[in-house]
Subunit: 204 residues, 2 copies
């Protein structure tokens, strides 16, 4: 049997969402049509409006519907002179949730990937070079993902920072807090050893 | 930090979908805005169109954008004289996927639930009574869920069928095919025993 075309098309469109398979799409479509039509219309409107309004911050490239995002517009953060480089807006959110960082961000919206034809300008590094030349940045913190592409991207940016004589650091990789050594992968455990810190007995 | 309002509203709207929590909604919103804007617009349109066009079949009450759904319009099925009663359109799909049934359906779009104020007319039983009076139905198959409400609803409809002298059956409950007894719940195992079938040795 075939469902009517509008239902079939709704299920197909729902499957484009990450993590939504055929079964979930069917459940979503029926739930909307059976008892959540108002919520469904609101979702349609939220999608259209977000897609129409949300662009990129002209300073840090993150997603925002303003010309300059809230964090870039924050005078206190700008004066801190710290610039954290991340791959995605979700990374900004994750770091903000730690409450540990009070500086600015630069969001690559991806990473270098020569095989996919993604070069420095595709991830805004021309814009970043311009900022490093014109702003007073005390330290760059490289928070790209601990993947091959993320490491290569971090390496490239570290080189760029060196040309502008800016101090640069990479976030620490190691055993997750609360994690058990037994379940930590080899690469992470390797990082945990090579990045070990001398215990400062005076601090106890 | 606050995300811009259009992104926040999109995440809120996505969370109204079944099975979507805050974390999934965030991932969906970012994925749409970062690299699936066309798919996002298509989803918005599919939602609006389905909600506008899809109503209920005037014969069986299932979701359809036609006046009469494909299954009710099928002459061969109508002549079979079988009417299967289910709670939802998803149940119709599930039964159709077995390929075992070639009759018609009546979709309650719910079940009797006096505590929630859901009575016979809310699940279309007035319409069903009318059909039983005017159509030639040889057998009613009750396929409501094996829940308290589903059983009560099945019972109510069985009574209605008796008034019209129509033969009525309930789908069998028991141990799922491929299931292990050890992992089957008590109620199901109880049904499996009370519904046991005598082995017909002639059939071997
Ligand atoms: Zn910004
Ligand atoms: Zn129908």
């Amino acid at each position: 049997m075939r469902l009517s075309p509008a239902i079939t098309e709704l299920m197909r469109a729902l499957r484009t969402l990450p993590g939504v398979g055929p079964k979930s799409a069917q459940r979503m479509a029926f739930q909307i049509l059976e008892r959540q039509r108002d919520a469904g219309l609101q979702l349609a409107q939220a999608l259209s409006e977000a897609i129409e309004r949300v662009g990129h911050c002209s300073v840090c490239r993150t997603l925002t519907e303003s010309e300059i995002c809230e964090l870039c517009a924050n005078e206190g953060r700008r004066q801190a002179g710290l610039l954290c480089i991340v791959e995605t807006p979700a990374d900004v959110l994750a770091i903000e949730q730690t409450g540990q960082y009070q500086g600015c961000y630069f969001v690559l919206m991806g990473h270098l990937s020569p095989l996919d034809g993604i070069g420095p300008e595709d991830i805004g590094l021309d814009k970043l070079a311009e900022r490093l030349a014109n702003e007073s940045v005390a330290e760059i913190i490289l928070a790209t993902n601990p993947t091959i592409e993320g490491e290569a991207t971090a390496h490239y940016i570290a080189e760029l920072a060196r040309q502008h004589s800016i101090q640069t650091s990479r976030i620490a990789h190691g055993v997750p807090v609360g994690g058990e050594l037994e379940y930590v992968d080899q690469a992470t455990l390797g990082h945990a050893f090579s990045g070990r810190k001398r215990i400062d007995f005076d601090a106890f």
